[in-house]
């Protein structure tokens, strides 16, 4: 500890006392400037407030000893102020230095975090929810139906008459032992979600707005883009005055919600036994904006769904249970889209089989 000696005190007037104390206060401030470590702080404390060798005590002892009686009170007040200043500086530095910790406690923050990983929702379920939510916002309720259907609901009531060539387009997996039943009662794996249209209308008079997600099966050989198991979302809207223009507007809106507002749609005549007029819908390629890229096979367009106005014959079948579906009074549209195809497109999945493999290396990417 340095010995700076006792500062000079010229006299006992207020002005002379103020000047002398100001000089000491400056000394305090100077020495308090660099109090960072605990050691420096302790040194400062001992220097100024130490019981035996503290500078404050030394100065006050010296000055008070020399002071005349009438000067002792103003001197004492000024020493109190000075002590408060020293303590304040000490406290302030203390507040700063108490936050400091030994270097030995420093860790490598670049090491990986210990993650409690969330599971990943399946991309098909995720896509299916996304599609369903779009239609829910447009007033559609959600419906479901059995995966094992009767021939009647899967085919006949959808205007696929027995023995009709249109049935050839949907190779069907059938439940064993059905041969003795009448054709319409025979059980099969539904080839599309469309039977739920009929089931819904049979239970509910018009108007109907329903969206139907579900798993479907076909007796198809598997390849990169085909699986005997796949998922569809079906939609149905029936009311007085529903038109083909409404169908176009609805799907155009839905595709914009699903793929972005710059996506355009175009409609092509197609054929489905249960709709007439029937259409295939293409969207402008959301990846290249229509300029042509690998994903759209350089055409600028991607075919995404099938749709059409509900065929009056379908209403005819429904009318057997719900007379309100009079095709002369009401009309409606239906549409269906492949969830797998949309998910594959959205996420760049090259092999449909990955969706049904349970391969975690694939699934975890959707977390």
């Amino acid at each position: 500890m340095q010995d700076d000696g006792i500062p000079a005190l010229r006299g006992w007037s207020e002005a002379e006392l103020d000047a002398a104390f100001a000089a000491v206060a400056r000394e305090v401030e100077t020495s308090a400037r660099a109090l960072t470590s605990a050691d420096e702080k302790e040194e400062f404390r001992l220097r100024w407030l130490g019981r035996k060798q503290g500078r404050l005590k030394a100065i006050s002892d010296a000055w008070l000893k020399a002071a005349p009686a009438e000067a002792k009170k103003p001197l004492g007040q000024r020493f109190n102020t000075l002590k408060a200043l020293i303590e304040a500086r000490l406290e302030a530095s203390s507040a700063a230095t108490s936050m400091s910790v030994p270097d030995s406690e420093t860790i490598d923050i670049t090491l990986p975090g210990r993650r409690r990983r969330l599971g990943a929702e399946h991309p098909l379920i995720r896509t299916q929810h996304e599609i369903v939510r779009i239609f829910q916002r447009m007033g559609y309720s959600v419906g479901v139906g059995p995966e094992v259907e009767t021939d009647y609901y899967n085919f006949e009531s959808l205007n696929f008459p027995p023995g009709h060539p249109a049935r050839d387009t949907q190779d069907t997996l059938v439940v064993a032992g059905q041969e003795r039943k009448p054709l319409r009662e025979r059980l099969l794996m539904r080839t599309h979600t469309s039977p739920v249209q009929i089931r819904t209308m049979e239970q509910q008079p018009p108007p109907v707005r329903i969206v139907i997600p579900g798993k479907v099966h076909r007796n198809d050989a598997a390849d990169a883009t085909h699986s005997p198991i796949f998922h569809q979302v079906e939609g149905l809207c029936v009311d007085v005055g529903i038109t083909f223009a409404d169908l176009k507007g609805t799907l155009d809106h839905a595709m914009k919600e699903l793929f972005g507002s710059s996506v355009r749609t175009r409609f092509f005549p197609s054929f489905f036994p249960f709709t007439e007029p029937s259409a295939d819908v293409q969207i402008s390629c959301p990846f290249c904006g229509g300029a042509g890229c690998r994903k759209c096979k350089h055409s600028g367009w991607i075919e995404l769904l099938g749709c059409g106005m509900v065929d009056p014959a379908v209403f005819g079948f429904v009318q057997q249970k719900q007379p309100g579906y009079d095709p002369q009074k009401i009309s409606g549209f239906a549409f269906g889209m492949g969830v797998d195809r949309i998910a594959m497109m959205k996420y760049g999945i090259g092999e449909i089989g990955l969706l049904y493999s349970g391969d975690l290396r694939f699934l975890e990417q959707f977390a």
Partner: protein, 721 residues
């Protein structure tokens, strides 16, 4: 199907646009051109994808007709003229014995023909279309099919014994067909025969014995019209799908046979020979009336507006536009009445409507009667005409509108439950997977909830997919095995899906579908050490406590009891019961099953019967009062005999019914080691006492502690020092 643009242009000379534009215009009208390939001087090759309802467009003339319709251009008539025939004393005999199955049959005799390779335009077009050339007479029939779509057949006339008879096959009758297969026919098959034998399966495939050979001198050319359903049944029965059967079963043009016959004859005669006698053309009037001469249908322009809605230009489809389109399509359109018609009058004009029971309407808009072209058997109803108008007008010329809606949106009753289950499992670290709906018979037997309840598929994709899955567990196992085989050693998966059951005894009269959940985990799936029973139980507890059951407990039964499955490790599995009923079982896969699947790593599985769980309501949060007073914690370290389970110890403590006992928990369980005698285990039970009304007094806590110790001692427990 392949189409040459040059051939289209020959039929519609007025086309001036490019092939690519033609392809686009056809595609937008539903005659889809999937690919356009440049053939240089020969124009383009179109790869077509024609929908099954448009058999009329599955040939060059049909597509040319579409182009003519779209552009309003003239279509060149087919040239069916032939050189003058040599007269015969009496016409060749053709007898239709089944007028319901064969509506028309034409036969023409060609004498002194020369069989050889095709030349000229036939050879050139075959080459461009990659169609295999055989010999001129055979090629002629194929060429005519490509040209105008109607299938024909050429017989070696000298192999025929007597005239042509179209009859049903005799039971067990044999026919060797052109593909070299000897077939046994069925009385439901229609055959083209001579007086002695069957010559061919009508509309499907010709016979071997009467086929054209290099030695053929005289030919009978057949062009006919067969009942679509009959052709389809024969084709399916004999598993022979030919270009001819494809066309006949979709409905051929009733007026086409004489033209097709003439076109085939013309081509054959180019190499030599002469026509003998006039064309024999047997027409069944009933069939004619059902097809080419079928009744006109009623058509109202107001329906066009009602079904199709507004057009882009806002004008809508005018009556003039609608009628123009119909006429271009080959329809005849006549006003049904000059003034407003009544419903009765309209029904007179339109018997198909009358049969639908259309209610009479006052001042109905004046309708039109539309006669239909013979080549469009798919047009039967007013809606078919509306579709044609929309199609030819252009789908994309209609406005995009959104229909108003005033109904309500209904959620499925279990939607929220399903989403809660999924959310909980995802938060617990299980990844969602979807596996096959099918499984092998062996797995079905092992994993079915009830014995012999699995449902078989009649035409399975493979032997391993012979059954509808009765459980999601086999699929889950397969997915875990796949991950392990790909060096993914840590896996936690779940699948939510349908499981199926039925009764094979009654021929699967009904198939029951139940929503089910499977979970599976192996390795260090949750980050820490190896997955253990407690991880699975913890997941089950977390999941099941989302539901507001009155009681939830876990227990274990031997598989023989029927309450637990045999595929679980008997000592490391449990059943979860909610309100007394089984909702789940889970545990380690039975070592024998693991061995069978060559699993080297312990696999944990669980199955939750969502159909039962969904009967419970979701738990609604209900806040309990929080105590303002200090809690007192006491730990009890006891040695318990092994036979006393934790549940028994906890039950004894619970039975004290001390209201201030807030909670208790096993803080540590130790087995083995020097400190713990054989046959016993050490349990550190932490108990928390707390009151909502007051600070607890030391004496009270001491008294309760004595009671807790006493309860454990009655079970044979000893307080450890």
């Amino acid at each position: 199907m392949k189409i040459l643009s040059s051939w289209i242009r020959e039929f519609v000379p007025g086309i001036t646009i490019t092939d690519r534009q033609l392809a686009d215009d056809l595609t937008l009208r539903g005659i889809a051109v999937d690919g356009v390939f440049d053939l240089g001087a020969h124009g383009s090759l179109f790869e077509m994808d024609i929908t099954t309802n448009r058999v009329d467009a599955m040939n060059h003339y049909g597509i040319a007709r579409e182009a003519a319709t779209i552009y309003g251009l003239a279509l060149k008539p087919l040239d069916a003229s032939l050189p003058p025939a040599k007269a015969t004393a009496k016409p060749f005999s053709v007898r239709i014995e089944e007028p319901k199955l064969c509506g028309r049959f034409t036969a023409r005799l060609l004498r002194n023909v020369k069989i050889g390779p095709s030349t000229g335009i036939v050879a050139e077009r075959f080459r461009l279309l990659e169609q295999k050339a055989i010999a001129n007479a055979v090629d002629a029939t194929n060429y005519v099919t490509l040209a105008m779509g109607h299938p024909t057949h050429a017989f070696d006339l000298d192999k025929l014994e007597g005239g042509i008879v179209i009859r049903r096959a005799r039971k067990g009758e044999k026919l060797k067909t052109l593909d070299g297969v000897e077939r046994t026919l069925d009385p439901d098959d229609l055959v083209v025969a001579d007086e002695k034998k069957a010559l061919g399966l009508a509309g499907v495939i010709g016979g071997w014995d009467t086929m054209i050979t290099p030695e053929t001198k005289n030919i009978l050319v057949e062009a006919a019209w067969f009942d679509p359903a009959t052709v389809r049944r024969s084709s399916k029965r004999h598993l022979v799908h030919t270009d001819a059967s494809h066309r006949f079963e979709r409905g051929a043009d009733f007026n086409a046979p004489p033209v097709a016959n003439a076109l085939v004859s013309r081509i054959i005669l180019e190499a030599g020979g002469a026509v003998e006698g006039e064309l024999v053309d047997v027409v069944i009037p009933e069939a004619d009336a059902r097809t080419a001469k079928r009744a006109s249908i009623g058509f109202r322009v107001s329906e066009v507006e009602r079904i199709l809605g507004p057009t882009e230009d806002g004008a809508g489809i005018s009556a003039a536009t609608a009628v123009d389109i119909l006429r271009r399509l080959g329809c005849g359109v006549e006003d049904a009445a000059r003034t407003e018609t009544t419903a009765t009058q309209r029904q007179d004009l339109d018997p198909s409507r009358a049969s639908l029971g259309e209610p009479p309407q006052k001042s109905a808009p004046s309708g039109q009667a539309v006669t239909l072209p013979s080549w469009r058997l798919d047009l039967e109803r007013e809606i078919d005409l509306i579709e044609e108008i929309a199609r030819v007008y252009g789908y994309n010329r209609f406005r995009n509108t959104l229909p108003p809606f005033a109904g309500t949106v209904v959620e499925l009753p279990w939607a929220e439950k399903e989403s809660t289950v999924r959310r909980t499992l995802l938060a617990l670290g299980f990844n969602e997977a979807i596996s096959s709906t099918f499984c092998a018979a062996q797995d079905a037997a092992i994993f079915a909830r009830e014995p012999d309840s699995a449902v078989a598929i009649g035409n399975p994709l493979s032997e391993e997919a012979g059954m509808l899955r009765p459980s999601l567990v086999p699929g889950m196992l397969e997915m875990l095995v796949l991950n392990l085989s790909r060096d993914v050693d840590d896996a936690a998966l779940f699948e939510m899906g349908t499981t199926f059951s039925g009764n094979p005894e009654n021929g699967y009269a009904r198939v029951e579908e139940r929503p089910t959940l499977a979970i599976g985990a192996t390795g260090h799936a949750f980050g820490g050490g190896d997955v253990e029973f407690s991880d699975m139980k913890g997941a089950m507890e977390e999941l099941l406590s989302r539901f507001a059951a009155r009681s939830l407990y876990f227990d274990r039964f031997p598989a023989a009891s029927g309450l637990m499955p045999a595929w679980l490790h008997p000592g490391r599995s449990a059943r979860a019961a909610v309100d007394g009923g089984t909702v789940a079982w889970f545990g380690q896969l039975h070592p024998a099953e693991a061995e069978r699947r060559k699993l080297k790593q312990t696999v944990w599985l669980g199955e939750v019967w969502l159909d039962r769980l969904y009967k419970q309501e979701l738990r609604q949060p209900a806040v309990r009062e929080l105590s303002r007073f200090q809690a007192v914690r006491r730990d009890f370290s006891v040695l318990l005999p092994e036979r006393v389970t934790y549940a028994a110890a906890a039950g004894a403590v619970e039975a004290l019914a001390i209201p201030e006992m807030q909670s208790y928990a096993a803080k540590e369980v130790l087995r083995g080691g020097k400190q713990i005698p054989e046959g016993q285990y050490s349990l550190l039970l932490g108990v928390v006492f707390q009151s909502n009304e007051r600070t607890l007094r030391e004496e009270e806590v001491q008294e309760w502690s004595r009671q807790v110790v006493g309860a454990l001692e009655t079970l044979g427990g000893k307080l450890r020092a």
